[in-house]
Amino acid sequence: MTQPMAAAATEQGSADNPASTGSRTTLGLGLVVLVGLVAVVLLGFFGAPEDDQQRDAVRMIFVHVPSALLTYVAFATTALGSVMWLWKRSVWWDIVAHSAAEIGVMFCGLTLATGSIWGRPTWNTYWDWGDVRLVTTLILFLIMVGYLSVRSMGDDDATATRASIIGLIAAVNLPIVNRSVEWWFDRTLHQKSSLTDGNLEDLTLFTLVLAIVVWGLFFLWAMTHRFRVGWLERELRSGDLDEAIAARKAEALIDGDFQNGASS
């Protein structure tokens, strides 16, 4: 970072215009998420009834299912952003794709972890390599970790293109993960979707829907901040580049004046 740019940024920071990626909207959204999260915890632990088979272990549904749904949303967003980058070379969409991938990897990791924790008391195992849903989700996670690894190799257009191709390949796996419990129902340990099959009722259903909404709002909040971080990183790089070019031009002019002066 060059000094003039840093100085300009510091000078322009103020109470109305804070030097952060926050805004009144994200602040409000963050507060709604916090209040919603408290409500989900209270309802999830003390409001929703236990299940006749699983007893209280069923309360894992309120963290596992939202994580899984937001994994789909995040990676679908990455796929859309990747298409727009490859098609239109849209920087905005490229940052969206990268942001969604980072948040999606977090949710996908949480889906695997919470599913595994839930599996121990209910399936009697943390993991089963033969299960279609589990293995395809792990593959999705690994592909998207690969996406982030490629992203970390550079910040040029070629890297964005490579990452976009990986993001699209991951998207092919999304419907396989989602539909696996239907397509291989008689071959898989994982149960079908309770939400779409209508096998939830009353406060259990309400709490799950609330949890999905709250984590969905968190996704929006995180996307907004992560997009702004991505935008700032890009601006910083282009700013540094602008200043480097300007400095080089200035040096060339000084050098030219010097040569002209020497020859005259």
């Binding site: 549904i61 209910t122 399936w123 033969g130 293109t161 008689d186 309770s194």
Partner: protein, 180 residues
């Protein structure tokens, strides 16, 4: 920054890097396609009880995974030496298989809730006192690992009695098998 402003010789481009995205793409695609074919083949995870019976001669003493719903009246718990053992019959697709599971049953092990078991066919009657296998075909499945394939119905206890009444063909088969 260097003071040398004379034209620079361009650095040689690494042509190999052009193939990088294509290589990653092809590798991941191969993995995904391979996985899908493996899944479609149907031999990846478990045989349902009817398939296991049908393929018994092919399977021999090979280890495989079996799936079926335990029949409530058949469940007998006991000991093999000092080790816990549970014997029961499972049903799926109209076939019944007698099972001996060596070890503690899973926490959610209960009638009509399908189990997925690792083990192998063994000839002879199940060696558990008091167990009267419903299949009674001279074979039993010796298991050493049990998972529970629970359903996706998360309804509280108020609806439990209703669910028991509506729990489907497996329960009806089980009731029929136990009374005959």
């Amino acid at each position: 920054m260097s003071d040398d402003l004379s034209p620079q010789v361009p650095r040689p481009t690494r042509k190999g890097r052009r193939w990088f995205p294509a290589l990653i793409g092809v590798a991941v695609l191969v993995v995904v396609i391979g996985l899908v074919f493996n899944l479609v083949s149907g031999s990846l995870f478990f045989y349902n009880a009817d398939e296991a019976v049908e393929r018994r001669s092919d399977l021999g003493d090979e280890r495989f995974t079996l799936q079926g719903a335990p029949i409530g009246c058949s469940i007998v718990e006991g000991f093999s030496g000092n080790d816990p053992v549970v014997a029961f019959s499972v049903t799926f697709g109209g076939e019944t298989v007698d099972v001996v599971h060596f070890g503690d049953p899973a926490e959610l092990f209960q009638p009509d809730v399908a189990v997925v078991l690792d083990g192998a066919w063994a000839e002879g009657v199940a060696p558990v006192d008091g167990f009267d296998g419903l299949a009674d075909d001279g074979w039993h499945f010796a298991s050493d690992r049990m998972r529970v394939k629970h359903d996706n119905d998360y309804i509280n206890e108020e609806g439990y009695d209703e669910r028991l009444v509506q729990s489907g063909a497996a329960r009806a088969d089980a009731a029929g098998a136990c009374t005959t």
